[in-house]
């Protein structure tokens, strides 16, 4: 609370008398590769995290460059970020981290909490500008959205906004947990259709399910590690993902492949209508799990989970029906 007031004071004084010592800076942010010391409020932020621009935009910080992950948007920003991006035209990176291109932008802060940056990348990037890597012990893609937002807020002096966002979304999750006692402790997992692979509890998508009260099955968790949060399933054994709620993610075009999985008809999740097909937009919202995408993800997903979790094939999950992946007798 005290710090909160201090920061507001700092903003006030910054407006009043230009840069001075009274603002919150310098701030130190420790992470898995060391500590980033940020001397003053950054104005040229380069975002290397595949989803990090969503977080910055939620804090009204528009990066000078961002990393396009996938999808058709020229800026790599999905619909939930369009309003926040406005007319801004950031430089777009695509593919591997290009240190030279980052340097050319003369950034004063480089953020990559979900970027897969290596120690070598960090050693180079941190010479260009203070660089924020994932926090220690969270793995490359396992930092929670709350922690990512908090760190970015500290770096950009926007903590009050971050606290507000986190409070609001966490309250929404808490309400959903209260409203759905049956979900608490039930098993659930998100799995990419196509080459079938599941996310462990350490992944951002595992966190999402955990926030609703679900548990990722041990059989899936044991196949991964802190740095390997995505594990392939052999079509010869789908039992690890045979959960109370099974969410199929799809970047487009993989739904038909689900019907070609020979063992899927034997799964309890399939027979009892516990499968939720998440289309490309919902899959992306879940995969971003950002302050901007979470509301959309919850709006879409919660009714689908409600239809799936009851274990009654008669309550049809509409998206699964539309995707044509229900068992034949339930579709009629």
């Amino acid at each position: 609370m005290f710090r909160h007031t201090l920061q507001q004071l700092a903003i006030f004084s910054a407006f009043a008398s230009g840069p001075c010592l009274a603002d919150g800076y310098p701030v130190d942010i420790s992470h898995q590769f060391g500590t980033a010391r940020i001397a003053e409020k950054p104005v040229r932020i380069v975002s290397l995290s595949f989803i990090g621009h969503d977080f910055l935009l939620a804090l009204d910080e528009i990066p000078v460059a961002l990393r396009r992950w996938y999808g058709t948007d020229p800026y790599g920003v999905w619909p939930w970020g369009h309003d926040a991006l406005g007319d801004a035209t950031p430089t777009v990176f695509y593919g591997e981290i290009d240190v030279e291109a980052v340097a050319a932008l003369r950034p004063d802060l480089i953020v990559g909490q979900w970027s897969g940056m290596t120690a070598r990348d960090y050693a180079l990037l941190s010479q260009i500008a203070p660089t924020i890597a994932p926090a220690s012990g969270t793995g490359d893609y396992g930092m929670s959205w709350q922690d990512m937002l908090r760190v970015l807020a500290t770096a950009t002096d926007t903590t009050s906004k971050a606290v507000e966002i986190i409070d609001r979304i966490e309250t929404r999750f808490a309400d959903l947990r209260t409203q759905n006692p049956a979900w608490q402790g039930a098993s659930a997992v998100m799995v990419w259709a196509g080459q079938v692979g599941a996310y462990t509890e350490h992944d951002i998508r595992g966190h999402f399910l955990e926030n609703l009260g679900f548990v990722t099955p041990d059989a899936v968790n044991e196949m991964g590690s802190i740095d390997r949060t995505y594990v392939f399933m052999s079509p010869e054994d789908l039992s690890p993902i045979d959960t109370d709620v099974l969410i199929w993610l799809d970047a487009g075009g993989s739904a038909a492949g689900l019907n070609d999985l020979p063992l899927r008809p034997l799964m309890r999740a399939h027979r009892e209508g516990r499968e939720v097909y998440a289309g490309p937009l919902l899959s992306a919202a879940l995969s971003h799990s950002s302050p901007l995408s979470l509301d959309y993800a919850l709006d879409q997903l919660v009714p689908l989970i409600e239809a799936a979790a009851d274990g009654d094939p008669a309550t049809v999950v509409p998206t699964s029906d539309a995707a044509g992946i229900l068992q034949p007798d339930a579709e009629g």
Partner: protein, 342 residues
């Protein structure tokens, strides 16, 4: 060549070849049983037998055998046999022991065709790849054929033209893949998949092409025996060289395109298998191609089986595994027996 003067010896050679072919087929059968037996889901031979004679659609083991391992096995057999035959034909036609379908541009052409197909048409089903794979394979082989002197150049020139066209087509494929992430995702799954996604629906759709390819290959062997003596000699023996070459070329392109459409480009099998076959079968192309088919099937089935075992991480590509097994065998063969002049 003393055998040609002694009829009894010919009978012996025939017997030996038949015996050897029998052994190879037996080996393939044994490998096939192992391929059905081993995998992530453990099961016994009784499960496998029961899945054939009393299939239970609610039994997971039966489903795994019949709908995962069996199509995978059939795909490996078809791909191995096709690549083996194509390699034997290619080496025979160019009279160069280094020739393989990968070196003469056919695989690169077929791959480029598939990449363009995924990119422009958004096709993801392997069975639909066949026509573009055929088109790309034909185009590449035509370019190689004309660059290589349109049948009048030396085999060395043909090989060089093939290497150049292969490199160019592969570079274009890679370039296109870098541009389009979506294409890359489909392509990677297809290329890395090997026999992972093998389905009977795909195999049945491609079966006519494998059949036609094998038939053409069989027909081509007769004229290849004459062609291998050199074009002038072949003409002297009454062979229409252009027609014979066209037949061989068609067989190679069809076999390779069908394989590429089903399992992606698999290198090396077409190179090594004919050497093994020649070692067992001698120079007669009819036997050579037959042995190449069986040995190619053995190699890919064994490679796919080993690649699935836990010690190799459980999902090593069959193509990589084939090179891992085949490489040392080829080295041993060359060191022990030398390379046969063609």
């Amino acid at each position: 060549m003393h055998t040609q003067t002694k009829p009894i010896a010919i009978v012996n050679v025939m017997d030996n070849r038949l015996f050897a072919l029998g052994l190879v087929v037996l080996g393939l059968a044994l490998l096939s049983v192992l391929a059905l037996r081993f995998g992530l889901r453990s099961m016994g031979f009784t499960d496998i037998w029961a899945s054939f004679v009393a299939f239970d659609p609610l039994n997971a083991s039966h489903i795994v055998v019949q709908e995962i391992r069996l199509p995978r096995l059939v795909a490996a057999v078809l791909a191995g046999a096709s690549l083996g035959m194509a390699g034997a034909l290619m080496q025979g036609m160019t009279r160069n022991p280094l020739a393989d379908p990968g070196l003469l541009g056919v695989n690169a052409g077929a791959s480029l065709g598939v990449v363009i197909c995924i990119m422009l048409l958004g096709v993801t089903n392997p069975a639909s790849f066949i026509w573009v794979a055929l088109g790309g394979g034909f185009l590449a082989s035509l370019i190689v054929f004309f660059l290589g002197g349109a049948g009048r150049g030396s085999p060395a020139r043909l090989i060089l033209a093939g290497a150049a066209v292969s490199a160019l087509f592969l570079a274009i494929s890679r370039g296109l893949l870098l541009i389009s992430q979506q294409t890359l995702d489909v392509y990677r799954f297809w290329v890395l998949g090997g026999f992972d996604g093998a389905q009977f629906s795909t195999i049945i759709a491609l079966a006519p092409f494998f059949g036609i390819g094998a038939l053409l290959a069989g027909l081509a062997t007769f004229s290849l025996n004459a062609l291998i003596l050199g074009q002038d000699t072949a003409k002297g023996l009454g062979i229409r060289v252009g027609l014979a070459q066209l037949l061989v070329g068609l067989a190679i392109v069809v076999l390779c395109a069908a394989t590429v459409a089903m399992a992606g480009p698999i290198a090396f099998v077409g190179l090594i298998v004919p050497h093994l076959a020649r070692w067992i079968a001698g120079p007669d192309m009819r036997w050579m191609v037959g042995f190449s088919a069986c040995l190619g099937a053995c190699l890919l089935v064994a490679a796919d089986l080993l690649g699935r075992l836990a010690i190799f991480g459980g999902n090593m590509q069959a193509g990589v595994m084939a090179a891992l097994i085949g490489g040392p065998v080829l080295i041993w063969l060359v060191r022990r027996h030398g390379v046969h002049k063609l």
